[in-house]
């Protein structure tokens, strides 16, 4: 092999080592752990599929946290994509101060979720928070108990999540809208003047790949939700806002049950792969 050809492998080597060390090794090691009873300070015991069996058939927290997560995913993804799309359409035309507002709308995206969580804690505080102060000023005698009742706590978290992630959808969808060809619209305007028809029959179909991508990215992100319930409610009241990732975190890093936490993480990975595959299959079928 000529020396020049061999050199190129040297340049790639750091990247390969990095991936092997920090991606492949942890992935395989955690897969191994999922088949062991592995607790901090105790010797590991191989237990076949016991961790998976326990999660699926015995652990009420597994199903509870999965249910809470699905609720957050559905609410958050639907709302962020819908709001992001609405804002993108609004901004996909000449507007005064467009740059300023675009920058303003995207600021929550660049804030650490944990910081937003603590901000949410302040805003939704039941006695001195801004939200309840406004609601009381508007005449509501008994404003929601945001952190001590099940549904208000869930809704408070969803609102903060929507606040953070709508800008992401907005940015990506705006870029998608701006990349649509003008000729198609010019031709469509010859046939109809209805904005709704243009949106329904032209914009939406053309934007579908971007919408799919945004939706799948948001879903993956929402399934991992941890910071907001951690900082706003600690998963409470009871287990009402304890997401699946939060449960994995508690199991693995607070209770040091590494084997069971690995099994839980692999179940999440499996669910995510299934959802992503079905999405991309659907997308492929649309284009076929």
């Amino acid at each position: 092999m000529p020396e020049r050809s061999r050199v190129k492998y040297l340049f790639v080597l750091p990247g390969i080592i990095w991936v092997l060390l920090f991606t492949i090794f942890p992935l395989l090691y955690s897969l191994r752990l999922a088949f062991f009873q592995a607790r901090l300070g105790k010797s590991e015991t191989f237990i076949w599929l016991e961790n998976f069996r326990r999660a699926l058939f015995e652990d009420y927290r597994f199903w509870g946290s999965m249910g809470v997560t699905v609720f957050f995913v559905v609410c958050s993804v639907v709302c962020t994509v819908a709001l992001g799309l609405a804002l993108a359409i609004l901004f996909n035309r000449p507007l005064r101060g467009q740059r300023f507002f675009r920058a303003l709308f995207t600021t929550p995206l660049f804030t650490a979720p944990i910081a937003l969580g603590y901000l949410g804690l302040t805003i939704f505080h039941e006695q001195v928070g801004a939200v309840n102060t406004v609601l009381q000023a508007l005449g509501m005698a008994h404003p929601p108990a945001w952190f001590s009742a099940i549904w208000p706590a869930r809704i408070a978290i969803v609102i903060v999540d929507i606040w953070q992630w709508t800008p992401f959808c907005f940015l990506v969808l705006l870029a998608g809208l701006q990349s649509l060809p003008d000729e198609v619209y010019e031709a469509a305007y010859l046939d109809t003047s209805s904005g709704w028809d243009i949106f329904r029959f032209i914009t939406l179909p053309l934007l579908t790949p971007v919408l799919f991508t945004v939706t799948i990215l948001r879903m993956v992100e929402s399934f991992k939700m941890l910071d907001l319930p951690f900082s706003m409610t600690s998963g409470g009241p009871g287990l009402a806002t304890q997401t699946y990732s939060f449960y994995i975190y508690l199991t693995g890093l607070r209770n040091f049950n590494a084997g069971y936490a690995s099994a839980l993480a692999y179940i999440l990975l499996f669910v995510m792969i299934m959802i992503s595959l079905s999405f991309f299959n659907r997308l492929r079928k649309i284009y076929e």
């Binding site: 006695q127 409610t233 607070r254 209770n255």
Partner: protein, 554 residues
């Protein structure tokens, strides 16, 4: 365009230079920036003066010259330079340097990550921390994994300061030991006591109003939880502080993760723990002086009728205050009491010391306190029935962490580390920490109590910023709890304790917020604890549990 670009770049360069110049100052240890008096980072003269007196009075041993230039690292939960528990480490550092020629780094770890950071460090043998200011419930894991070293080997070594282990409340002293060995130094002494507004409860006007409404005298002594409930219900939603708004009866922290289970722990003890009928009453048997598990079978007792009755009481109390407290953490509950909006709370010594800080409290001079109330109907597991007593069953507690230093097995400087531990444990320094409110160090030794029980003087506390009446009530309540209560709740410190407490906390919250009945919540806790015990190994845990509560199988 080019000109404006030049201006922009110039501005950027100036900013960068300024930032570079400012960086070292910002990165500098803030204690060096703060005012120092006599080597103490304080601007309060009386604080420096009393600390210097404590320093002078403390035994200093004979520091080994070989320690000069060395450095150890202390891990502590994050509360800042004038914060609870971490504050004294900053306060005394320069004096430690003067004594030994060595120094120490302080690594503050957020409370939520404290256990995982420390355990990971010990598990991996990284040895980042020489000394850990730890929560007493970590001991099970420490001993199980052999992570910390016994310190009694240094007690007679003349290089180290002498400290008075006899003066420590026995219940707390036991937390620093395992088996026949001492592992921890003396520092903080946690327990929950009942705090109340002395000015309101003792006000004849309110006592008359209570009698008129309830048909009997106000039970001002609050000897039982029923008395507390009655008073809390009476004052709740009344404008007793005259601010024009309805106020609260009691304030609690009941949020998941807000340490609400500690409330239940203190409240439920008299419902569950009963004395041994023979001598001594503190003897631990299968049915007496136990709270957590059956000491013969390791079966959880957490859903016993006594526990359920106690949770029903907590539920009633949780409705005699703001409903928002179901979602409150520690700070919010304390703030409600300190800002004068609640008549009652039960919590740690921090409330006593914070109440003396005018920046946070409007109740200085109005504080009352007593030990945790009892019940006249504790549950007797042996008889399988609730007893009917003439006098309430009173059970002392050491609920909380009782933060104190231990030495890591992986420390490269165990002797220097022990010097620090012993020096901070000496009576003058420990008492100064207790008497100075912001340190968060709670009282628990005979030299913290007033005569005739101890050697402290009210002036010590007044010099530390206390109102004399408040100090008397606060210290008296602690002294009652540690020295006058006939029996004690055991402290759970077996491996898996934090995991059990975490799920217990969740189920208590489910009961408080009406998702489950008290019985259902505690039944679920029972199931979870049974699984955790099985995961850790029932036989291993049983042995450690018996050791930790002083139970000897017959």
């Amino acid at each position: 365009m080019r000109k404006s670009l030049r201006y922009a770049l110039g501005l950027l360069a100036i900013c960068a230079m300024l930032a570079t110049m400012a960086a070292p100052a910002l990165a500098q240890d803030p204690t060096e920036e703060a005012g120092m008096i006599s080597g103490f980072p304080t601007t309060i003269e009386v604080e420096a003066k009393t600390a210097q007196a404590a320093f002078d009075a403390a035994d200093k041993g004979q520091p080994d010259p070989a320690w000069k230039g060395k450095k150890i690292t202390i891990g502590v939960y994050s509360a800042g330079q004038r914060g609870a528990i971490s504050g004294p480490l900053y306060f005394w550092r320069q004096k430690f340097e003067e004594l030994t020629g060595a120094t120490y780094d302080i690594v503050e770890i957020p409370f939520a990550e404290l256990r995982e950071k420390i355990f990971t460090d010990l598990q991996t043998g990284a040895g980042t921390y020489d000394v850990i200011i730890n929560c007493s419930n970590y001991y099970g894991d420490y001993i199980f994994n052999d992570w910390i070293i016994p310190i009694d080997q240094y007690f007679d070594d003349p290089r180290f300061p002498k400290w008075d282990r006899e003066s420590i409340a026995p219940a707390v002293a036991r937390l620093m030991q395992w088996g026949d060995h001492w592992y921890g130094g003396n520092n903080d002494h946690d327990a929950q006591v009942l705090y109340y507004r002395r000015d309101i409860i003792e006000d004849p006007k309110w006592q008359a109003a209570f009698k008129e409404e309830m048909g009997h005298d106000m039970p001002v002594k609050m000897e039982t939880w029923d008395d507390v409930l009655e008073i809390a219900q009476f004052f709740n939603k009344k404008d007793w502080n005259g601010d024009g708004d309805p106020d609260d009866g009691i304030t609690l922290h009941l949020k998941v993760g807000g340490q609400g289970f500690f409330h239940f722990m203190a409240l439920s003890a008299p419902y569950v723990v009963i004395p041994y009928p023979g001598d001594p009453p503190t003897k631990v048997t299968k049915y007496h002086n136990v709270y957590w598990f059956d000491p013969e079978t390791m079966e959880p007792l957490i859903n016993s009728p006594g526990h359920v009755a106690a949770l029903e009481m907590l539920l009633k109390l949780s409705k005699a205050g703001p409903s928002a407290m179901w979602g409150w953490s520690l700070g919010e509950a304390w703030a409600d009491f300190l800002s004068g909006n609640a008549v009652l709370t039960f919590s740690w010594g921090d409330v006593g010391s914070l109440s003396q800080d005018p920046a946070q409290s409007v109740i200085q001079g109005k504080l009352g306190a007593r030990g945790i109330p009892g019940t006249k109907s504790p549950y007797d597991r042996e008889k399988g029935e609730f007893l009917k007593l003439d006098k309430p069953n009173m059970v002392g507690n050491q609920v909380g962490c009782s933060w104190h230093p231990v030495i890591s097995k992986y420390s490269d400087e165990p002797e220097l580390s022990y010097y620090f531990v012993a020096w901070q444990s000496t009576p003058p320094i420990n008492h100064w920490n207790v008497a100075t409110g912001w340190t968060g160090v709670d009282p628990g030794t005979t030299y913290d109590w007033f005569e005739p029980y101890g050697t402290a003087k009210i002036e010590d506390y007044v010099a530390g910023g206390y109102d004399a009446g408040d100090a008397k009530a606060f210290i008296g309540a602690y002294q009652d709890n540690f020295f006058n209560y006939p029996i004690f709740q055991n402290y759970m410190r077996i491996p898996g304790t934090p995991e059990m407490q975490e799920i217990w906390d969740v189920h208590l919250s489910e009961a408080i917020t009406g998702q489950l009945s008290p019985q259902e919540a505690l039944d679920l806790t029972y199931e979870d604890w049974t699984r955790i015990v099985a995961d850790y190994g029932k036989e291993d845990l049983l042995k450690l549990y018996q050791e930790s509560i002083g139970y000897t199988p017959e």
